[in-house]
């Protein structure tokens, strides 16, 4: 993933929106692929410790941030990283019933279309997200060969919106494309996860999105 669309932001960005964008981007990255040595290093650096501490200062995030930090601290061997990668694989890379594949289409009720039942993967939600991205002159990275309704894509797009659109647009996108299925996804991750990391990450994502949507709503009022 060499080209970074999110780096093409305008020069002056409201620092609060920048920080929101970064958090969405962080969550996107953690759902996009397994944690490797480099990511682990980034997430456990001194700077990152400060970030986690600040994030955990909010009571809604505290418990899950603590779990994530504790879990990251245990990843000190190759085997531990591989075990976490196996958790990731079982959750997000295979099947749908016994896993928690992160595609919005799986968690929304699909209405029958003119062509009959929509397929499970690359269905209506994928098409819709592709259109959203296109409107923003974006597309899914070719190195990320996943449907556009993958959670990582949706979160990355919100990260983009945080600095490229007004709050009303952000809120309506989040409500129409994220909060309407995220809790079902999080329940599935919690049910299926053998470890602790990804269920904590999923719960943290849900509480973050919820509180962010509330904040956007209050800003708009």
């Amino acid at each position: 993933m060499s080209t970074d669309a999110v780096n093409t932001e305008p020069v002056e960005v409201n620092p609060v929106n920048q920080v929101r964008s970064t958090i969405y981007q962080l969550l996107s990255s953690l759902f996009a692929k397994e944690i490797d040595h480099k990511t682990l290093h980034d997430l456990t650096s001194e700077q990152a410790q400060n970030f986690w501490a600040q994030l955990g200062s909010e009571s809604a995030f505290k418990a899950d941030v603590n779990i994530l930090v504790a879990e990251l601290a245990t990843l000190n061997t190759d085997k531990a990283l591989l075990e976490l990668a196996a958790d990731y694989c079982g959750l997000f890379l295979v099947g749908t019933k016994f896993s928690a594949s992160p595609y919005a289409g799986l968690y929304l009720d699909n209405k029958p279309t003119e062509n009959g039942d929509e397929p499970l993967l690359f269905g209506e939600q994928h098409q819709q997200m592709t259109q959203f991205l296109k409107q923003s002159q974006l597309q899914v990275q070719s190195e990320f060969p996943e449907p556009a309704d993958h959670l990582a894509v949706i979160l990355a797009y919100v990260a983009h919106l945080c600095i490229h659109s007004d709050e009303a647009v952000q809120l309506s996108f989040i409500e129409a494309n994220l909060t309407n299925w995220l809790s079902r996804f999080v329940d599935k991750v919690t049910e299926v996860d053998n470890g602790n990391f990804y269920q904590a990450l999923a719960r943290l994502t849900l509480s973050w999105v919820k509180s962010d949507a509330e904040w956007l709503a209050s800003e708009l009022n």
Partner: protein, 832 residues
């Protein structure tokens, strides 16, 4: 804390949390310019027929039958789901414990344990390392890469050819002989009629319709089975079946279906049913022969002129060799057909022109050679072999046999074997005294009992000590018998590699899993109609390979590159996909020069097809009948062998020198084992799948499942006795295994018989229905794979083929914890 303050507090801490990247990129110019240029209708095909497919916004949106397909299968509704289903293998994956410990991994974890995603380079590297290790430590007898199956269609991308050519470039390996479909038939019939017959072109339907007065469908369901073909199926046979239906209605042709159940074909044609107890065709046939002799209904002249050994068979028929005269009364007690009906049937067969059409089911049982041999003897006694609309066929339900061949030359294919002079990385041919080729269905025996010597088709086979298996486009966890026994065998294997599109059970029981793209994600060409050879079909790529899947061509080109400098080039002969297709097409064009007009490759590709026209009607064995000396059969004598000296010489107790009735180890309706497990399990080819292909197509599967499970068809009285009604979940069991299936109570299924169609994806869960324990012996199959229950023995010392139809079970209403179906979700993790 105030939200704004909280967010401000994060400013400065968050910028450097992840120095990474985004899953988004700027829209590229091409995509920005508007609609995808490649959207629109394209031509392609599969085993299920030729189609037109619509691509919209880069996704397959519609599939409709090709213009020429007048009888498309409704499996066409499952095509889209083959591409976009939850079972797709999205990335190369390796079982975690194998990644950590390699050939010392805990093999008992196979089947429901943890995988991790790896790069293609890593996965192919591990594959090659394993092959190195096996060849170095054990030599070629340690590797079996010869279990191959129905693949996907396409002359270039055929997965079997790619895998075997590439693995052969590395080293030698154990291969199979025969197949699961027709193992006994294709072995016995060369002794009797001089060819496999099962895969031979048959008398044209038009001549059968014109000349036959009686047609016997012997355990044969062409209306069900002709939906699919080895190549893109034209479905032209259905036009003839429609004509036959009319003739049946008008009383012009009498069609009798000899079958334990009411077949789909019988229902379609509205023809007669002659019920017979399962596995008892041979006593029935012997009694017919006995009656023909008694009443002198046989064609002595034909027997005399065209066959050998009737005199050696007759004493057996009359009871002089074993003290049992094969009278209708004797047979009736076994086969359940009354002596009167048997006597009448002998008259029916011999009264007028009679075409016997055998299905393949009756040879997939213990002593499966016998009903085929005996049916050939009956046809010889009737004396109509080689006449239009008479004689016997073993293939009219398969791949359009009976539709006349156009006579055009078919295109070549990507080579399965090494090129002349190609050097292997490991060139040892030392199989440590073991056989390099084993009967297809005996590989589990071989893994479990290496070094054991068995009889097979006149030879001695010594089982190799197999340590590694490679499967490509092949799901033996569908077609092999007895899952618990397979698990025992797989515990002994050091490494298993599967290359497939979807997470079949074979993939779930593997160590290295490589994602191949589907037929619709690459360009190819196919023969339109396997036997009709009606033309060539362009298989135009519909969409780019999903996720990180690759075409078989690409997978094994990359693999070959690991074998050394220039090896990838050697593998592909220096040609890419387009160049291969052009060459295969142009070679075919050259072969047909002056006989069949073919346009340039570009024109062909644009049109999507080229037609060769219709062939001329033809009669099987007519040349032999015309002059058996000039056109002898391929038997040792050149004649039909009612008695085979060759087989007699083998001195097999389970396959003597002439057709013989032998009791089965398990048989319903009063036979051995029927007191304990009274129900015969029929596991025929499915109506809504091609073997296990398309079971993963979610929406289509849901059109026929019951509570998400494979249907089990039950006799009304049997079901009532067990308190079961349609829609209930049923546990089917015997001493070998247990499965759950969804009840469909139907009067098409007589007492003592159930049907579960093969190809239902194996989805083991714990014995008691809990999520954990699927890898264990005795696991409960949550979906309804009949081979959880079937018997894993050879048909006889002759063919050593599979005996899936020799299988007794019982069933009950399932009262336990109902598990979710685990077959389609890829590997399932269990808690440590």
């Amino acid at each position: 804390m105030n939200r704004r303050d909280f967010l401000k507090g994060l400013v400065g801490t968050s910028y450097v949390v992840l120095s990474g990247s985004s899953v988004l990129a700027p829209l590229n110019a091409l995509a920005a310019s508007g609609a995808d240029a490649s959207d629109g209708w394209l031509t392609t095909g599969s085993h299920m027929g030729a189609f037109k497919m619509k691509r919209k916004n880069g996704v397959i949106s519609e599939v409709i039958p090709f213009d020429t397909d007048m009888y498309p299968t409704d499996m066409i509704n499952g095509i889209k789901g083959l591409v976009y289903n939850e079972s797709r293998i999205r990335y190369p994956m390796v079982r975690l414990d194998f990644l950590l410990k390699g050939h010392q991994s805990d093999t008992k974890q196979r089947g429901d344990f943890r995988f991790v995603r790896v790069t293609w380079d890593k996965a192919l590297g591990l594959f090659k390392d394993s092959l190195d290790l096996i060849q170095t430590k054990y030599g070629p007898s340690g590797l079996h890469a010869g279990q191959t199956g129905w693949r996907a269609t396409g002359q270039l991308h055929s997965c079997t050819s790619h895998m075997q050519r590439a693995v052969a470039m590395h080293g030698n390996f154990v291969k199979k002989v025969g197949d699961y479909s027709t193992g006994a038939g294709q072995t016995i019939l060369p002794y009797v009629l001089g060819s496999t017959e099962v895969y031979a072109q048959g008398t044209s339907w038009s001549l059968i319709l014109e000349h036959s007065k009686t047609i016997i469908l012997w355990s044969n369901d062409p209306y069900k089975n002709l939906q699919v073909g080895w190549n893109a199926e034209t479905h032209e046979s259905y036009a003839y079946l429609a004509q036959l239906k009319e003739k049946v209605a008008k009383g012009e042709i009498r069609v009798i279906s000899i079958d334990p159940v009411v077949s789909k074909t019988q229902q379609y044609l509205g023809c007669e049913h002659l019920y017979i107890n399962p596995q008892t065709d041979v006593p029935f046939m012997l009694a017919i022969a006995h009656e023909m002799v008694e009443k002198n209904l046989l064609d002595n002249e034909f027997i005399e002129g065209y066959s050998l050994g009737f005199d050696k068979f007759l004493p057996y028929l009359q009871g002089q060799t074993d003290g049992v005269e094969k009278t209708p009364e004797w047979a009736s007690k076994i086969c359940g057909v009354s002596p009167e009906v048997i006597r009448d049937f002998a008259k029916v067969l011999t009264k007028d022109r009679t075409q016997i059409l055998m299905g393949w089911c009756v040879q997939r049982q213990q002593h499966g050679e016998q009903p085929y041999w005996m049916s050939a003897v009956l046809a010889t006694m009737i004396g109509q072999i080689g006449l239009p609309g008479g004689g016997i066929s073993y293939g009219h339900h398969y791949s359009g046999i009976g539709v006349p061949s156009s006579g055009a030359a078919a295109p070549g294919a990507f080579p399965r074997n090494l090129d002349d002079g190609q050097k292997q990385l490991f060139d040892s041919t030392d199989f440590n005294g073991a056989s390099s080729v084993i009967p297809v269905a005996r590989w589990i025996d071989s893994i479990l009992e290496p070094g054991k010597t068995i009889d097979a088709n006149g030879s001695k086979i010594t089982y190799p000590d197999i340590k590694m298996m490679v499967f490509s486009g092949n799901n033996p966890w569908n077609h092999h018998q007895d899952r618990n026994r397979m698990k025992e065998a797989f515990f002994k294997l050091e490494c298993i590699v599967s290359i497939d599109m979807n997470w079949t059970a074979a993939c779930r029981f593997s160590d290295i899993v490589l994602p191949a793209c589907t037929t619709f994600e690459r360009n190819d060409i196919d023969i339109y109609g396997s036997y009709a050879n009606r033309g060539l079909l362009a298989m135009q790529k519909m969409v780019e390979p999903l996720f990180e899947s690759l075409s078989d061509f690409e997978i094994f080109t990359r693999f070959a590159a690991l074998l050394g400098e220039g090896k990838a080039q050697e593998y592909t002969r220096g040609m890419n996909e387009h160049q291969w297709l052009e060459m295969l097409y142009n070679d075919c064009k050259a072969s047909n020069e002056g006989k069949f007009e073919m346009p340039s490759f570009e024109e062909f590709w644009k049109a999507g097809y080229v037609y060769f026209g219709e062939g001329k009607p033809w009669v099987r064995h007519q040349a032999f009948r015309d002059d058996p000396e000039i056109n002898p059969l391929g038997t040792p004598s050149g004649l039909i062998e009612i008695f085979s000296r060759k087989i007699a010489h083998y001195e097999y107790d389970d396959c003597p020198g002439h057709p013989t009735w032998m009791e089965k180890v398990e048989r319903s309706h009063g036979g051995p084992g029927s007191k304990k497990h009274p129900i015969w399990l029929q596991s025929c080819h499915p109506d809504k799948r091609l073997h296990s292909q398309m079971c993963e197509s979610t929406e289509f599967r849901e059109t026929y499942t019951v509570k998400g499970r494979e249907p089990v068809y039950l006799n009304p009285e049997d079901a009532k006795k067990r308190g079961i009604k349609s829609g209930d979940i049923v546990r089917v069991f015997n001493d070998r295994g247990q499965l759950l299936a969804g009840a469909v109570v139907s009067d098409k299924f007589p007492q003592g018989i159930i049907r579960i169609q093969e190809g239902a994806w194996y989805g083991p869960v714990g014995k008691d229905g809990s999520k954990e324990g699927g890898a264990e012996i005795g696991a409960l199959d949550s979906y309804g794979d009949p081979n959880t229950l079937t018997l894993d023995i050879g048909t006889s010392k002759l063919a050593q083929a599979c005996s899936a139809y020799t299988c007794l079970v019982d069933y009950e209403k399932y009262q336990g914890k109902v598990p979710a179906v685990s077959s389609f979700s890829g590997p399932i993790e269990i808690a440590l």
